[in-house]
């Protein structure tokens, strides 16, 4: 991996949203990581911890409040018109909310064709052929091209979002919960497709998901976020088998197991204590209010992310 080029670098990214009463939602609070060409970087963490916001900052949808995003070594703000076009084609997103991002007045065919028109000069016939290929890849027949988003099931819509992102042959895809609405068999089909494309074309993914087994399967490295911060970062196997941060440990203890005789719901590590809010995060370690190992130091000073083993980073005073 080391000889690989870094595609994206997030440097001390912060995103604060204004809230009522002059308060701030600290959605992302000083996060740094880099993603190399051909790798899959998994991003997991509590609902609302800032994963989608991170993904949007990489794409330039949200400008960071502080910090910067480098794309192949260049700040997003410094790209010229031509480079900007190139960025739009090569960097795609699969959205978490498939319905909200599909124009309800456009047919599925034209939704997928839209990017093709912008980035490739194809004639009608070639475009239709491409659209059909894309639909077929995600397990939909070509009949779906003439349908409209509201006429599809949740999982069918999600697959249209995937087909649209893949259609323009991007180099990098932010996949925000790309398989959440799919059944296990189609999940497998999509994940197999993504891995195959990665092998053949060296695609790079930021893979955001709550499905920890799938994240492990597809990712090379996994970052764990909690309340706007990266609390642990390591290789996919290490983080599953040797999680060090107490939040990571609790998270990985609650993976659903399909077995009627074992209740993962009751057997998990419970997080007690007050759930902090990004509106009023605790001053020290953000996890301190729910941590079983919390000390005075944890409540006072925020722990930095440090490398405890080669490639394994954790932000915890107690490790």
């Amino acid at each position: 991996m080391s000889e690989n080029k870094v595609i994206f670098e997030a440097k001390n990214l912060k995103k604060y949203f204004p809230a009522s009463g002059g308060k701030m939602v600290r959605a992302v609070d000083d996060v740094s990581f880099s993603i190399s060409e051909g790798e899959t970087f998994g991003l997991v963490g509590e609902s609302g911890c800032g994963k989608t916001t991170c993904g949007r900052m990489l794409l330039g949808v949200y400008p960071p409040t502080e910090g910067e995003v480098l794309y192949r070594g260049r700040g997003l703000g410094t790209l010229d018109r031509h480079e900007r076009m190139d960025f739009c084609k090569n960097v795609q997103m699969i959205f978490q909310d498939p319905y909200a991002c599909l124009d309800p007045r456009m047919s599925i065919g034209s939704i997928i064709a839209e990017g093709l028109h912008v980035h490739f000069r194809l004639n009608q016939e070639e475009t239709m052929k491409r659209v059909k290929e894309q639909l077929d890849r995600v397990g939909l027949t070509s009949d779906y091209a003439s349908r409209f988003p509201h006429e599809l099931s949740g999982g069918q819509r999600q697959r249209v979002g995937i087909a649209r992102a893949l259609a323009v042959e991007p180099r990098f895809i932010v996949c925000d919960e790309p398989i959440a609405a799919l059944d296990v068999s189609i999940q497998a089909q999509i994940v197999n497709l993504m891995i195959q494309l990665q092998r053949e074309l060296k695609l790079t993914y930021l893979f955001i998901s709550h499905d920890l087994s799938m994240v492990r399967h597809i990712s090379d490295r996994i970052g764990v976020m909690y309340l706007g911060s990266l609390v642990e970062l390591a290789g996919n196997v290490v983080i599953h088998e040797k999680p060090l941060h107490p939040y990571t440990q609790a998270l990985f203890s609650a993976i659903p197991i399909a077995d009627p005789d074992h209740s993962w719901i009751s057997d998990r590590i419970r997080l007690e204590g007050e759930i902090p809010s990004p509106l009023s995060a605790p001053p020290g370690c953000k996890f301190s209010s729910r941590c079983r190992m919390c000390t005075e130091e944890c409540r006072k000073s925020p722990p930095p992310l440090r490398e405890v083993e080669p490639g394994h980073f954790v932000a915890c005073h107690r490790v």
């Binding site: 509590e46 999982g155 891995i195 799938m214 719901i265």
Partner: protein
């Protein structure tokens, strides 16, 4: 105990310009108070259309509940009910958690007002102030921090999982007898998911709430539900208690589905098992077994006639020609994890 819901011969079609799309085909099932029924099946097989039909929630789409369908809620037929009676059942009789939070939440209204509206349509006597206090309490119950601030947020200001939890709060606000939950926890991380499922389980224990749970997550299905119904191409192909489906599944589609759960010990990036072939065409009438083209065990009869459901116990049944007394005995794949294989 009496059934709180009885669905008989439910068929739903969409009359589209390309023809009739038969999304739900002659589906029957029932539900007892306090019971949890899970509906599983391939994407597009008709789970959402089935549960939306139970409340006739089709908006202005071209959906038609076919003649002969019955949806008996406490003995009254929802399929034939007047709009005003139906309105009374929505929310306080049957609550719904929708698959797509963004489409069912109102983007122009803050989430507090949306919960309050839900509470006040079914409890006209409650003051606005009390209703707001209730809304805050509900958001706290579903694990949203700083609820008194969050009620002022509009849906787009919330994360995906927060929006989903707002919907859960709306659905449980009026303590309905039945909660229909369509993929209720897909946007939640596993710890919050477990917390929300525990909350729902508490409702069931305290108020005897019945659940219809639609989900792709078989881990949730086998933990949270009592009975499981497997759908394929708009039909129920197998049903049983969760132990029957886990230990003794009989339909080849159920086998394929259970086989698709990623196995432990798989190497990263290895190819995952998925069911081959294309999904069924819902425009076709039902003259054969819809799974036959993708089934490893298909016989000539499967492509000629549709199988009827055969009962294996009071609770277990499946629609498959392999269960016919004259059919050859086939062994289920040895790779199924829970199955009792001799």
């Amino acid at each position: 105990m009496d059934n709180i819901l009885e669905v008989k011969n439910l068929s739903v079609s969409f009359m589209s310009y390309i023809g009739e799309i038969r999304a739900v085909r002659d589906v029957s099932f029932s539900l007892k108070p306090g019971e949890t029924l899970a509906i599983v099946g391939e994407s597009g097989c008709g789970k959402t259309v089935t549960v939306k039909a139970l409340m006739r929630l089709f908006g202005n789409s071209a959906a038609v509940i076919k003649e002969g369908s019955q949806i008996l809620f406490r003995g009254q037929d929802i399929a034939k009910m007047k709009k005003t009676d139906l309105y009374n059942i929505r929310g306080s009789g049957i609550g719904m958690i929708f698959q797509d939070p963004m489409t069912s939440l109102n983007p122009t209204m803050n989430v507090g007002d949306q919960i309050v509206e839900g509470i006040r349509t079914h409890d006209q006597k409650i003051s606005r102030r009390d209703a707001i206090a209730r809304a805050v309490k509900l958001l706290e119950l579903v694990g949203i921090p700083s609820p008194e601030e969050r009620i002022k947020n509009y849906p787009h200001q919330l994360s995906g999982g927060m929006r989903q939890r707002v919907m859960i709060a709306i659905a449980i606000a009026c303590s309905p007898d039945i909660i229909i939950a369509d993929e209720p926890t897909t946007a939640l991380d596993v710890t919050i998911q477990a917390q929300v499922l525990e909350l729902l389980r508490e409702l069931k224990d305290k108020l005897n709430t019945a659940f219809i749970l639609v989900t792709h997550d078989l881990g949730i299905v086998f933990d949270f539900s009592d009975r499981i119904q497997v759908m394929y191409a708009g039909r129920i192909v197998e049903r049983g208690t969760k132990h029957e489906i886990y230990k003794n599944p009989v339909h080849p589609y159920t086998w394929a589905l259970l086989n698709s759960i990623p196995r432990r010990g798989l190497q990263s990036k290895d190819e995952l098992y998925s069911i081959k072939g294309t999904p069924p065409d819902l425009m076709l009438p039902l003259e054969s077994c819809p799974f036959a083209p993708r089934c490893d065990y298909a016989m000539p009869i499967c492509k000629a006639r549709a199988p009827q459901e055969i009962a294996l116990s009071d609770t277990h049944g499946a629609a498959c020609w392999l269960l016919h007394s004259m059919a050859p005995k086939v062994e289920r794949p040895g790779t199924l994890r829970g199955a009792d294989n001799e």
